[in-house]
């Protein structure tokens, strides 16, 4: 066989590789059918649904009260937000006004949850980039601390089941706010440490700068939300653009990045968001009506839970606008509510017919929508960048597949 190596007729074949669903870096069970030319990606087809649990069907076949316990599992890294989206949808339909204290507790716990989610992303993203052994443990350390706090107030570390239709489940225990305050004090230093290791690291810069560029127009056309689109320069953050809950009372900035929105910008955006969330928590602790649990107890003049039934209670100190019981019903109507989750707009479209079950549930999951832009980003990228790009859009597969 005489083949001229420089000839354009040199016969090469495209290689088709199945990346996933059991690949270590597909964050669970995403399957990417890659068509490779050498190490360059020619075509990508994501195959979803390996983790499909029929969350919408379950919502329609369980009572509101039961389904509240399930929806943390839709996006298990930020369970507060799925709960919150559904609670908001139901509250909108029902016309409930959630007490102030409950809203503040929601904000505090959700921002904590945002931090844990971003921390997990940070750790796993560095694993995707190959820093397998050292760095990823540091974000997880802080995450554990937050999970301990979650455990004290909600009962479990990830499946909170804390935000309920009309309020929240319970007040944090004594000393909880102090612990949280201590965490917010030390957390910025920890982020500084992460940044010292990662942000300016030449290898990290090489791997991320100019890689996986997501243009504004593309991002908007695909309905990308969350840090991904903020890194592309569009200040879409529902906490500011469509303010809900008590966010208007809190002082914070939407973190956007200039430039094209490459992988590094998405990284940086999340780092800044963590700092911002930390500030939000700090402010919310200051502003929460009734103060810490100890102060609230003192205010109410009660010592134990038996006497909490006092009637002359300031309504903003309540936790629930609607009594939670097994026969919880929501008025007939339809509504769409969205909250800003760590991954973007998480929306819940609910049609209720007044019974104790919803007539139709539809989740608008940020991961699902953000993932749809992946084939666009991956074409032309080498195989090593697939993980850098895929990791940077931060999808969580249960959220994609529901």
């Amino acid at each position: 066989m005489s083949v001229e190596l420089s000839s354009p007729d040199l016969k090469t074949d495209e290689m088709i590789i199945n990346m996933g669903p059991q690949h270590p870096a597909t964050h669970g069970v995403l399957r990417l059918i890659l068509t490779l030319d050498g190490e360059i990606c020619k075509h990508v087809e994501p195959v979803l649904g390996h983790l499909h649990r029929a969350q919408e069907w379950q919502g329609q076949n369980r009572t509101w009260f039961q389904y509240q316990a399930l929806i943390d599992r839709v996006d298990y890294l930020s369970g507060m937000y799925t709960s919150w989206a559904m609670a908001r949808a139901a509250e909108q339909i029902d016309g409930l006004v959630v007490p102030k204290r409950a809203e503040y507790l929601r904000v505090i716990l959700s921002e904590m949850n945002r931090i844990t989610s971003h921390l997990l992303w940070l750790g796993t993203y560095l694993i995707d980039l190959g820093a397998m052994f050292g760095f990823p443990f540091y974000p997880f350390r802080e995450r554990e601390k937050l999970f301990d706090l979650f455990e004290e107030v909600a009962g479990q570390r990830m499946m909170f089941n804390y935000i309920r239709i009309g309020g929240v489940l319970r007040n944090p225990p004594f000393g909880w706010f102090d612990k949280l305050k201590r965490f917010t004090d030390e957390f910025p230093d920890r982020i500084d440490e992460y940044e010292a290791i990662v942000t300016e690291n030449p290898i990290f810069l090489k791997r991320t700068k100019g890689v996986g560029i997501l243009k504004k127009e593309t991002a908007m056309a695909y309905g990308v939300t969350g840090p991904c689109i903020r890194a592309s320069g569009i200040p879409l953050d529902l906490r500011k653009t469509k303010p809900y809950s008590v966010y208007p009372e809190l002082d914070f900035k939407v973190q956007t990045m200039d430039g094209d929105g490459d992988t590094w910008a998405r990284y940086m955006c999340r780092i800044r968001e963590m700092r911002e969330s930390n500030e939000i928590i700090r402010q919310a602790i200051e502003k929460i009506p009734g103060g810490t649990t100890e102060e609230l107890r003192k205010l109410l003049g009660t010592t134990g839970p038996e006497k909490d039934e006092s009637k002359d209670l300031d309504p903003s100190f309540l936790l629930m606008a609607k009594k939670q019981n097994a026969g919880l019903r929501v008025k007939a109507g339809e509504g769409f509510a969205a909250v800003e989750s760590p991954r973007g707009t998480i929306g819940c479209y609910v049609i209720s017919n007044g019974s104790d079950k919803a007539y139709r549930f539809k989740w608008r999951n940020p991961s699902f929508c953000n993932l749809s832009v992946l084939p666009e980003l991956l074409v032309g990228a080498p195989i090593a960048d697939i993980m850098a790009i895929f990791g940077s859009i931060d999808v969580i597969l249960p959220d994609v597949d529901r």
Partner: protein
Amino acid sequence: MTETPAPGNKPAEEPKELTAGPFGEFLREHGIASTRLPDSTGVETVLVEGKDLEAALKRLRNSQETELNYLVAVSGVEQADSFESVYHLWSYTNLKELVVKVRVAKSAVPEGKLPVVPSLANFWPAANWHERESYDLMGIRYSGHPYLRRILNPWDWEGHPLRRDYKQPVDSLNDKNPHSMR
């Protein structure tokens, strides 16, 4: 809510005519007929014909006045007598929101066929996966979709699980099977 009668439990139908909201006016100015539906929790809701859908959404997306350039979700809904495809439109730049619905009456769907709604995926990639999902779970065929394939269920799945008349298959991992592994 008029359009949410569950089988067996339906509120009274309100025949009174609703006046067109700002978006309805906007659509009419551009020659697209629309019907105002009751607001969904304070957001204007319009019903458009399937054939007008693409034109309407292109207008709403590209026009300077509206700039509804953020397609939040496409949901398939099965009502008592119709299938609906619901489009939640937001804006990246301003606070406007709109809900657009397309209805296909069940009586208009031939036996053994799926209800057909025109697809947006060709000019609005955000709709691509949402429409696939809606097709997969609710069985609404989006005509003109570039790659209308099941997305959450396996490719060889039979039936559309969120339909009210869907029968769950009995397999080894299923409670209904007497030899269930559970």
